[in-house]
């Protein structure tokens, strides 16, 4: 065969083997290792730092970085922590790659993130294969941590499921507010549909009636004109309107509904939790509007205040939102479990399963699906979250 061909072959072989040399390192995980006091422990951050949902990912990544900095500076720090961050672009496939990199190459003790459910689920199998826990701050999708009927052993999340908020609001509306007839509007996303389905189910179970089907009450993210859908609703009789979606559309729905003369109570979920809601809806229209959330941003506790101050000092006010608190709690939970277990791998996983955690977003333990059991706050939107109306735990 030609010499030239051999040359090409050899040189390409060289190139590939050189690349291989860069990549060596990693190796089989799964067993974990014991840690001594003062050891350096790496913590991975797998976040959406670019792409569509970069604002969530950045808010969380900042909080993780801050939490680790605060831990390292505290006097009773048992280990020296190091933060390794990777960008997953908000893409599920990239997220798998990022998690693999953190596990194999950086050998992290646990991973915090990603912020979105899809990207989180994409990492659970890889993580479970090598027994490196993934703590997702905000993977709220229903059954996100489940692989069919079994839970992924390494998947944990510290937010409640989408459906849980829907159930809590339905229970609150039916029992505490005494509402009888509900109308439902939902975004055609997994978030909106999950919330709305659960709301309908629980509201009906509590003796209420839902006057429209989800099919007539769906809208797309980015819609701005809801007059058609609201006109149809206004012809019917109802005393509460559940809007399952984010503040961008919800704000406009509230405004247009009030202008049309719909004076029923309007309720929603943590998608309402933004100052933009008041801007879009108009302050005067926010009477009798309530939503569920994990933390009351308007009336912070002392620990929340302290975190908020440190965060704003480091990254500015704009980057702070609910996701930052959740991410902070994720790291602190991981560190607490790490200190208890004194080891990585399966031992750390076991410590997480049994953890009793008291953090910024409430205290909780994990149920058998690795989802926290905690209460939901119902907030009056008019007070901009300064007043908590009730704490609801779904029975």
């Amino acid at each position: 065969m030609s010499k030239k061909f051999l040359k090409v072959l050899l040189s390409s072989a060289m190139t590939v083997s050189m690349l291989a040399a860069c990549g060596s390192g990693g190796g089989a995980g799964g067993s974990g290792s014991e840690l001594a006091e003062g050891d350096t422990v790496k913590i991975g951050g797998n976040f959406e730092l670019s792409g569509d949902v970069a604002s969530y990912g950045t808010a969380e990544s900042n909080a993780v970085e801050l939490a680790i900095k605060m831990y390292n500076e505290s006097e009773d720090a048992k280990y020296k922590l190091e933060y390794v961050s990777v960008d997953n672009k908000g893409d599920a496939a990239e997220s798998t790659t990022a998690a693999t990199k953190l596990i194999e190459e950086d050998q992290v003790a646990f991973i915090v993130g990603p912020a979105t459910s899809g990207a989180s689920i994409a990492t659970y199998q890889v993580a479970s294969d090598s027994s490196v826990p993934v703590i997702s701050p905000s993977a709220t999708q229903i059954n996100a941590t489940m692989n069919g009927d079994e839970v992924y052993p390494s998947a944990f999340r510290i937010c409640f499921e989408d459906s849980y908020q829907g159930a809590a609001m339905a229970q609150y509306a039916a029992k505490d507010m005494g509402k009888k007839k509900a109308a439902v509007l939902a975004e055609t996303s997994d978030y909106g549909q999950g919330l709305a389905n659960q709301f309908i189910e629980t509201f009906e179970a509590n003796g209420g009636e839902v006057i429209n089907s989800l099919k007539d009450g769906s809208y797309n993210a980015g819609d701005t004109d809801f007059n058609a859908i609201l006109t149809k609703l206004s012809e019917k009789d109802f005393d509460v309107l559940y809007v399952a979606g984010y503040y961008g559309e919800a704000g406009l729905i509230i405004k247009q509904a009030r202008e049309m003369g719909i004076d029923a109570t309007i309720v929603g979920a943590d998608g309402f939790d933004s100052t933009v809601l008041a801007q879009l809806a108009g302050k005067e229209n926010l009477n009798d509007v309530f939503f569920t959330t994990a933390i009351a941003s308007g009336a912070p506790t002392e620990a929340q205040e302290e975190f908020k101050k440190a965060y704003i000092e480091e990254y500015g006010e704009d980057a702070l939102n609910m996701f930052s608190y959740l991410a902070y709690d994720s790291v602190m939970l991981g560190i607490q479990a790490l200190e208890e277990a004194g080891a990585t791998g399966p031992a750390l996983q076991e410590a997480l399963e049994k953890a009793e955690f008291d953090g910024l977003t409430g205290s909780f333990t994990f149920d058998e699906t690795h989802t926290p059991v905690k209460s939901v706050l119902v907030i009056d939107a008019a007070t901009n979250g300064a007043e908590t109306n009730a704490e609801v735990t779904v029975k």
Binding site: S12, S24, S50, A92, A93
Partner: protein
């Protein structure tokens, strides 16, 4: 006949692919490279199939399609749904077949009316098609809507992926050199002239479009069974653009360049993963400079051809 197939040039190609296969599988199986790099290689192989198949439509046939992600989506979801019911290689095979059947039907429905359009209009029509597929998938029960399918078994192995890639390249290259392929090239060069020469342009455009769609759906199936999770948002406009960039980056009409571009962009993505703020900028600058200094792409329409290399050598000696 057998002599033709076993020509020197073909043997060289065979030797090259076997050598690359052995080299990569040794690297992967003996864990010389970490599984992080292995995923990158998997990604590159899938992207090669996508780039080569889109190059057939754009580079060879001259039809500007922005709907490749739609076909990939069909393949991914067919394989995802079926392998969740039958988590073995038989399931994957069946999933690939079902995906191909649906893709063919979809490609026929789209291409027969839209391939009468030209240039920008075709691009917009195919873009619309891909969005329709995505929205349908987002609203179906069996695909689990916007939440996407999760818990798909990992069935894509390196060997399977490599074989599929080689087969895809062979199909596209052989099509290009066949009579229908030549007809496609003539359509690319001048549609009216080729029509005047008695070429049934619609027929050849549709056949190139369908072959491209089939291969994209194959790539989608392999993609789904490699990453455990698929979501409708993964198959949006950006995915089509990513594939398009590979084709344009390498050079339209050259399969060698599509392969090289897929490899280069794959590694570029991997290296830049740690520089999230800079990544998009570097990516953009690389593309802009290619377009300014070499508008035809890295290789233009040149191909790596063992036949030519061997001939040149013979002439020398």
């Amino acid at each position: 006949m057998s002599k033709k197939i076993l020509s020197k040039a073909n043997l060289c190609w065979m030797a090259l692919s076997v050598a690359v296969y052995i080299l990569l599988s040794v690297l992967i199986n003996f864990r010389i490279i970490s599984s992080y790099y292995t995923i990158t290689i998997y990604n590159i192989l899938i992207n090669i199939i996508l780039a080569v198949s889109l190059n057939l439509i754009i580079g060879i046939c001259g039809q500007f399609s922005l709907g490749h992600a739609g076909f990939m989506c069909i393949g991914a979801y067919s394989a995802g749904v079926i392998t969740k019911m039958m988590p073995n290689l038989g399931g994957l095979f069946l999933g690939v077949l079902v995906g191909m059947v649906i893709s063919t039907v979809a490609a026929l429905i789209v291409s027969v009316p839209t391939l009468r359009l030209r240039g920008d209009y075709l691009a917009i029509a195919t873009l619309g098609f891909a969005e329709i597929i995505r929205i349908i998938v987002m609203n179906m029960k069996i695909t689990n809507g916007a939440a996407g399918l999760s818990g798909i078994p990992k069935l894509t192995t390196f060997t399977l992926l490599f074989i599929c890639m080689v087969i895809s390249i062979i199909i596209v290259c052989n099509f290009t050199r066949s009579a229908p392929g030549r007809a496609c090239i003539s359509i690319r060069e001048d549609e009216i002239a080729s029509e005047a020469m008695g070429i049934n342009t619609t027929k050849y455009k549709v056949s190139a479009f369908i072959i491209g769609a089939l291969l994209a759906s194959l790539a989608g199936a392999l993609f789904a069974c490699n990453f455990y999770v698929i979501k409708p948002t993964q198959f949006n406009f950006n995915r089509s653009i990513d594939i398009l960039v590979m084709v344009v980056f390498g050079g339209m009409g050259s399969m060698t360049s599509s392969v090289i571009a897929a490899i280069v962009i794959g590694f570029l993505n991997m290296i830049l993963q740690n520089f999230s703020n800079l990544r998009m900028i570097i990516y953009g600058v690389a593309l802009v400079s290619i377009m300014i200094f070499k508008p035809t792409g890295l290789l233009g329409t040149r191909e790596l051809s063992f036949e030519k290399l061997l001939k040149r050598k013979e002439r020398k000696s």
